[in-house]
Every structure is written in structure tokens, then in C-alpha cells.
């Protein structure tokens, strides 16, 4: 059969692949040490990207599980759409802003609609692999906001928001720190995006949640904050496990290189920070509230993951465990502060997890970076750079989000009607129920 195949010159479908797989046939080129190294880097980047994609499922489950059943379909839909729309717009627009040829250290200017080879990046892996990897990162930033604004945001307004964050807000920050911009030039370390990805999502979430206001019933007239428990903690926990799993793509994959011997260390650091975050939150809530709090402990694992993202390459395992541990305490205090003091209603704790712990973790690199960190005798230079980076990203994201959500609020409106909110957004926005067949407690009582 092989002979006949060759005779006919037909090299199509899976069989082509088979043949390509034989070294010496593939693209007429012999494999070489260099081509193998590129292949290793490519499959590593792609597989890591796939894992990061899967984090979308994790976010969807966490956000749905931690909110009420009557809004579950809406949350799912938001998660699906911010990824889908984000993928398209980032491909056509955002990627060029982030990785196009630099303009004054502020943003990229070339390669819109992929009309460029992006040779200036000096990538060894194929451009589409790099683009895919960057796309799933961009979508992560976008999806963070849906949790904080859950259970009351108009679907249309959310779509508009998603579009803008993936097209502009995120790519600009990405350019500053990863794409050759001014913070990169200054030497800021944000290896896999505590600031670039998580704090951008977190701060946008802060502004969004502030502008949209709390859910009906969240604060009584006297300002007392009420708990609105999530409807499916099992699913929420599954989401956390999926996110943790995906983070093994997020951090070690950010080397873009499987031939980089540091990937083992990055994976180990990531795991230790998450483990420390969860453990410390459990202990801290146990002491503080008398019982180990399940949902905060789940947040604690995520807090550790977000915090180590910046420094996963720069710190050593002990540093990772310390950063994770601090985050495990910080997350609890931050959730309480935002909820009870600032009175901003963030149903899933997204602002604290991504905004606060993301920024915190980035600054911690200034302390714990083995090379340049304060604790290791590296002085304050790096620390200052980190703080400048965190602050500028906060400023940029807060201002642009304020404008964005402000315009949406003034035009489309941010919020569904109170009636719709009480009945649930699933019915109101999508005409369906997520759990048909189950007897539900009536929407909006939580006894």
C-alpha cells in the first residue's frame, strides 16, 4: 500500500502524518538536534496552552458553583462567550497591540489581523503555537471579571466588556511587561502573569463590581453584609482542582520551552505555593471563625497559585511556600475587607484572589527572588521596580475599566432589573433553567 501511495504521490490525511513522522520524510528535512529542540519547545508550549485553556472550565465551575442556581446558566454562558469572543478579537487585534513592533514602550503597532510574521520576537517555536498560548492567557484575564459581577450583570454589557478587555486593556499591560514595553525594559519580573493576567482581571473586577453595586439582599439597610451561599460547592471544588491542574500549564508553560531545565522547579514552586495557601487558609479560618471554612480554603489554594505566578521561576521552593502561606492569610483578610468594609459585593472573591494576591505576589518577588530579592541581599532595586509595575498596572486598569464600565452603564446599562435579578438571570437573560428536574428552593431565599 505504501508503494501505491508513493506512486500516486498522494500524501494526505492521517497517512501523511504517519509518513511525516518518519524522520527524513517530514517536509523533506532531516531532523536535527536543533529541529528536535524546537519540536520539544513547541509541544511543551502547546500542551501547556491546552492546560491553560482548560482553566476556562475551572473558572466556569468555580463561578457557577459559588453563586446561586438561578444564575448558573448565565455564568456558564459568560465564561463560554468571553473565551470565544476573546479568542477572535485577540487574534485579530489584541495580539498586535501586545506583541507588535513597540511604540514608545507603550503598545505594539503592527500585525493586526495577523498580517505580520512577528519576526522581531525572535521566536523559535511556530507563530501559531505562540499565538494560541497567548490567546488562552488573554482569555483568562477576561474571565476573572464575570465572577465578581455575577448574578446581576446584563449579558449584552458583559459581552461588550469582554470585547474591550481582550482587545485593548489586557494587551497594553501585556506589552508593557512581556511585549517589549517600558516595564520590561525596567526589568520587572512577572514571569507568568500575576500582574499581567491576574491583577488586570482582578482590578477590572473591582471597578466593575463597584460600579454595578451589590446584589439585592446582600447588604441590609443598616449596612450589614449577608452571606449568599453558593449553590454547588462540589462543582466549585472541581473547578479549583481544574484550575490548579491548568496552572501547571500556566506557569511552567510560560518558559515556552520544554528544553529549559527550570520547568521542573517552576512546577514544584507552583504546587508548593498552592498547597501552602490552602493549608494556611484552613488553619487561619479555623482559628478566626472556629471552623475551617471550605469555600475560603478553596480560595486560599487559588490565592497561592495567583501569588506565585510572578515569581515561580525567580524564587526557590522555600520562597514559594512562604509566598503561598502569606497569600493564604491575605485572602481571608482581603475578602473580609472588601465585603464588610468597602462593601463591594464580589460573589466569588475574584478581586481578592486575582487583584490583591496577584499584586501581592508580584511585589513579593522583590523580596524572595533568589537573584535580586531583598531577602537574599539583592537590595531594593528590584522591589521598587515591582512596586512601580504593580501600581502602574493598577492605575491603567482602573482608569480604563472605569471609562469602559462608565460608558456601558450610561448607555446599555450594566444591571438587569430587580425583578429579573430575583427571578434569576437564567430565565431573564436566556429563557432557561440550569437544573430543570430538581426541586429548587425558591429563588432568593436561602434558608
Amino acid at each position: 500500500m505504501k508503494t501505491s501511495l508513493r506512486k500516486n504521490g498522494i500524501f494526505l490525511g492521517i497517512f501523511t502524518a504517519l509518513l511525516l513522522a518518519i524522520p527524513g520524510i517530514a517536509l523533506g528535512a532531516e531532523p536535527s538536534v536543533e529541529s528536535n529542540a524546537v519540536a520539544i519547545d513547541t509541544i511543551w508550549t502547546l500542551i501547556a496552552g491546552f492546560l491553560v485553556f482548560f482553566m476556562q472550565a475551572g473558572f466556569a465551575m468555580v463561578e457557577a458553583g459559588f453563586t446561586r442556581a438561578k444564575n448558573a446558566g448565565n455564568i456558564i454562558m459568560k465564561n463560554l462567550m468571553d473565551f470565544s469572543i476573546g479568542s477572535l478579537i485577540y487574534w485579530l487585534f489584541g495580539f498586535a497591540i501586545m506583541f507588535g513592533v513597540d511604540q514608545a514602550g507603550l503598545f505594539g503597532t503592527t500585525g493586526f489581523g495577523m498580517s505580520d510574521t512577528f519576526e522581531h520576537l525572535g521566536l523559535s517555536i511556530p507563530l501559531p503555537a505562540f499565538l494560541l498560548f497567548q490567546t488562552v492567557f488573554a482569555a483568562t484575564a477576561a474571565t476573572i471579571v464575570s465572577g465578581a459581577m455575577a448574578e446581576r450583570t446584563k449579558f449584552m454589557s458583559y459581552i461588550v466588556y469582554s470585547f474591550v478587555i481582550s482587545a485593548v486593556i489586557y494587551p497594553v499591560v501585556g506589552h508593557w511587561i512581556w511585549g517589549g514595553g517600558w516595564l520590561m525594559e525596567r526589568g520587572m519580573i512577572d514571569f507568568a502573569g500575576s500582574t499581567v493576567v491576574h491583577s488586570v482581571g482582578g482590578w477590572a473586577a473591582l471597578i466593575g463590581a463597584l460600579l454595578i453595586g451589590p446584589r439585592v439582599g446582600k447588604y441590609s439597610k443598616d449596612g450589614k453584609s449577608h452571606a449568599i451561599p453558593g449553590h454547588n460547592i462540589t462543582l466549585g471544588a472541581l473547578g479549583v482542582f481544574i484550575l490548579w491542574f491548568g496552572w501547571f500549564g500556566f506557569n511552567p508553560g510560560s518558559t515556552l520551552s520544554g528544553t529549559n531545565p527550570d520547568i521542573g522547579k517552576i512546577a514544584l514552586n507552583t504546587n508548593l505555593a498552592a498547597a501552602a495557601g490552602a493549608t494556611v487558609t484552613m488553619i487561619f479560618t479555623w482559628i478566626k471563625y472556629k471552623k475551617p471554612d471550605v469555600s475560603l480554603t478553596l480560595n486560599g489554594a487559588l490565592a497561592g497559585l495567583v501569588a506565585i505566578t510572578a515569581g515561580c521561576l525567580a524564587v526557590d521552593p522555600l520562597g514559594a511556600a512562604i509566598i503561598g502561606s502569606f497569600s493564604g492569610i491575605l485572602i481571608v483578610l482581603s475578602v473580609e475587607f472588601i465585603d464588610q468594609f468597602l462593601k463591594i459585593d464580589d460573589p466569588v472573591g475574584a478581586i481578592s484572589v486575582h487583584g490583591v494576591c496577584g499584586s501581592f505576589g508580584t511585589i513579593m518577588v522583590g523580596f524572595f527572588a533568589v537573584d535580586g530579592g531583598l531577602v537574599y541581599g539583592g537590595g531594593t532595586a528590584l522591589l521598587i521596580t515591582q512596586i512601580i509595575g504593580v501600581a502602574s498596572v493598577f492605575a491603567w486598569t482602573a482608569v480604563t475599566s472605569l471609562i469602559l464600565f462608565g460608558i456601558i452603564k450610561a448607555t446599555l446599562g450594566l444591571r438587569v432589573t430587580e425583578e429579573e435579578e430575583i427571578r434569576g438571570l437564567d430565565i431573564g437573560e436566556h429563557g432557561m433553567e440550569a437544573y430543570s428536574g430538581f426541586e429548587m428552593k425558591a429563588p432568593s431565599i436561602n434558608i
Binding site: 430565565i427 429563557g431 432557561m432 426541586e439 428552593k441 425558591a442 429563588p443 432568593s444 431565599i445 434558608i447
Partner: protein, 112 residues
């Protein structure tokens, strides 16, 4: 003794409960029900076809009280449940012949 049975909007439950407690009544039993009345059903679109649902989630509150408390309680419930929109619900009153508190063995009005 009378049984007061009322069908109300679930979101009113908390205020109703608080107000009733103020009258010194602590015992009550809640049931999740589906109610259908004058309120027009909503139409949902699922995978392209419409389905009309005439039933709404409501909460049934049952309170057994001595005869003299009935009016007071009904008044409180009506007040707290009122929104002015169709679907505000109904109250039904019926007779209960006897009651028994299992723990103490008390019966009649001592049981409630």
C-alpha cells in the same frame, strides 16, 4: 384552634417571619409549592421552541394558633406580603380540632 395557611412570595418570607415572631408566635411550617392563579405564566424559549409555564415558585406557610390570634396574624401577613403586583398570594383559614406536642404530651391549646 385554627390553621392559617398562606401562599406567599418566597422573598417575603424573612420579613413575614420576623413580624410574626413579634406577635409571640414561634411555631410554623414551610413548604415549597408551585402556585398557579391569576398571574400570567411566563414564556421561555429553549432550543428554539417556546414553553409556557403557568406555575410559580411560592412558599406555603402553615401556622396553627388559638382562635384569638387569627386576625392579628392574618393582618401581619397581608401587610408584609403586599407588593401591589398580581401574584401576591392568598390566605386560607380552617379549623383544627386538636393538637399535641410530642415532647411534653401537652394537647389542645397548650400544645401550640
Amino acid at each position: 384552634m385554627k390553621k392559617i395557611e398562606c401562599i406567599v412570595r418566597p422573598q417575603k418570607l424573612e420579613t413575614i417571619q420576623t413580624s410574626i415572631r413579634r406577635l409571640g408566635i414561634r411555631g410554623m411550617t414551610l413548604t415549597n409549592v408551585l402556585g398557579c392563579g391569576l398571574q400570567k405564566g411566563r414564556t421561555e424559549v429553549y432550543r428554539g421552541y417556546t414553553l409556557t409555564n403557568n406555575f410559580f415558585l411560592r412558599t406555603k406557610i402553615e401556622i396553627v394558633v388559638t382562635d384569638d390570634m387569627v386576625n392579628q396574624i392574618v393582618e401581619v401577613i397581608s401587610k408584609e406580603s403586599y407588593t401591589g403586583e398580581i401574584g401576591d398570594g392568598k390566605v386560607f383559614i380552617s379549623n383544627v380540632e386538636n393538637a399535641l406536642r410530642i415532647l411534653s404530651g401537652d394537647s389542645g391549646k397548650y400544645a401550640i
